[in-house]
């Protein structure tokens, strides 16, 4: 599926202060029974966000909210940037996790590290995962939790910088191919299919070298 091109982005931050947040926590298994890509936002972090047991097809508007969960804090109600701790998105490969984050409204994820499969899945869905040093992430957590106003961050994808609302700016590192895809919103299957001749040539060579693979 072609994704939406990513523009330069300004948004407020929700700080999720837990390490090793797994994809079971991001979107619990009962919601994986859907055969669609959309509609997962209301069940994002379901077990942390609500006090009752979540089931597919519920009207989440009437469910009891967990007042201690960060996304239920009015300060972070409109956050589009999720600040997290290390190894965010570990565990199951379910792409429902980035689908849920995007459907909820997040565009940017910041953490000291992301799990590999989650990172790949996020990029495929036009979410921007930004890896920053632990010390910088610590500082952003302080800024995001101090005071009554949420922290606003600007991400400039052309100059590869992140600006924390008057508290300084920092370079960000994004894989050049991912950067290209995010900026242009490419359909990467379409891109791969432009190399169909290379794939056919590989298959022909491999068929001769390793015929059992094609038997």
């Amino acid at each position: 599926m072609p994704m939406q091109p990513f523009e330069n982005f300004r948004g407020t931050v929700a700080p999720l202060d837990r390490a090793n947040v797994d994809t079971d926590a991001i979107i619990p298994k009962q919601f994986l029974k859907s055969i669609k890509r959309t509609g997962f936002g209301p069940n994002l972090f379901d077990e942390w966000r609500y006090l009752d047991r979540g089931e597919p097809g519920q009207d989440c508007a009437n469910r009891p909210l967990n007042p201690d969960f960060v996304l239920n804090d009015p300060r972070y109600a409109h956050a589009t940037i999720l600040l997290a701790r290390h190894n965010f998105g570990c565990g199951s490969s379910r792409e429902h996790a980035p689908w849920a984050l995007a459907d909820y409204g997040f565009k940017v994820l910041i953490a000291p590290s992301f799990a590999d499969i989650f990172h790949q899945n996020a990029i495929k869905n036009g979410l921007l995962p930004i890896v920053l040093d632990e010390a910088v992430v610590d500082r952003l957590f302080e800024l995001a939790t101090d005071g009554d106003e949420p922290l606003t961050i600007d991400v400039d994808l052309h100059n590869l910088t992140l600006d924390a609302d008057g508290h300084g700016s920092i370079e960000i590192d994004i894989d050049p191919f991912h950067h290209h895809c995010l900026i242009h919103g490419l359909d990467d299957i379409g891109l791969t299919l432009t190399h169909a001749d290379d794939i056919a040539a590989y298959e022909a060579r491999r068929r001769a070298e390793a015929p059992w693979l094609f038997a």
Binding site: A19, K33, S34, E47, D116, D175, F177, D188
Partner: protein, 507 residues
Amino acid sequence: MLDPGRRRPNRRRRAAQHLSSPHRRGTLVGFVFAPETAPMPTPRTLYDKIWDDHVVRTDEHGTSLLYIDRQLVHEVTSPQAFEGLRLAGRKPRRPEANLAVPDHNVPTTDRHLGITDPISRIQVETLEANCREVGIQLFDMADKRQGIVHVIGPEEGFTQPGLTMVCGDSHTSTHGAFGALAFGVGTSEVEHVLATQCLLQKKSKSMLVRVDGPLGRGVTAKDIVLAIIGEIGTAGGTGHVIEYGGDAIYALSMEGRMTVCNMSIEAGARAGLIGIDETTIDYVRGRPMAPQGALFEQAAAYWRSLNSDPGAEYDRVVTLDAASIRPQVTWGTSPEMVLPVDAAVPDPADIVDPVKSGSYRHALAYMGLAPGTPLADIPLDKVFIGSCTNGRIEDLRAAAAVARGHKVADSIKLAMVVPGSGLVKAQAEAEGLDKVFIEAGFEWREPGCSMCLAMNADRLEPGERCASTSNRNFEGRQGQGGRTHLVSPAMAAAAAIHGRFVDVREI
């Protein structure tokens, strides 16, 4: 200022010493006696060799188009991929390179009733319709070969050494036990592979985890991999492909090797690999989807050439002494929160790092455990033996050996055994293992993922505590509010009999 000075990862590579596969020593000869005029080939790892043999092209950013030989497909992560193909007017490039099976949603009781949950049923029916439409082979619920994707792939010979394999499931790392580069992907990549038989990939870093020396009695592959995760952490393998080496690894059966590679993802690595030896080749020989006759011998010669060369370098090397590994039990909500069965629950107050200390506090609150509690004193409610980690015949034999002639403790509400596949179930029944379990008070179920992730009716209720042979002790993994302790099959069976954890070495 936000910028503390940029750090670059240390890229120094370390050479592996004395890898214990006999074939590694064998490949040395070709290099040592190479003609003087020929350049000395750079020693390569198994990962390097499989990678090199599958690169279709590499772009200016260093991103490669990697050819994918085989894909396994299940009902949960594929419907949106097939839908994507349809919307774009695309067709699978090689339907015959895929094998599909429903496993996550299938019931483990009363199969003749079909799937009663309508949403689960639609997902399984969607898989069947999609496979029919594009010509992908499917083992449906009535097929005796139906089972967990990562059990049936090896069982059918669909999994072979030297392959690149993917599946929309993180435990695809299991197949690395065969010396195949196998990793989990998301649904967009399932669609990408269906459409192009390729994936866009950057090469990962390499890590060698060597487990040297003999394992102690009662210590299994599950304990090895849990000990490794305890050592390097759940992000220890992030960005790496792990190769497991050392004599403790090569002494394992294929089932044990699959258990180790299966949980590579819990160590943060997308893929785990074990070199190819005669144990590997003997397992593959004669399986229905493996090459047959002369083609098999040709394939086997190629497979033997793939092992890491002596002197091949890794970005990171970790060594464990097999003799020091004791039966493992997880106490928290991440697989790295693991200790030997004779240890006690740790105290978060002893942890200096505030983030880690906070994680420990959260975990203990969720698990309902107090610091200092001996793991052996933790009472259990349920026991689950099964999953792609430990649902194979060898696992059932190990559990049955402990259960034989005993009874499940009265305090255990449910102890269930879920074979990894229909063929594992049939084999176990041929050996009489089903009777051993049933006589001891275990339930003997139909194959599937079951309570590893509780997408079907098999789940924990809030607050229930389970000894489980699965792979993830995450919050809510086995049911909202459920508390999971990961252990080996023998440890799970012993826990069922005693109603709490016991050290299998002492029974």
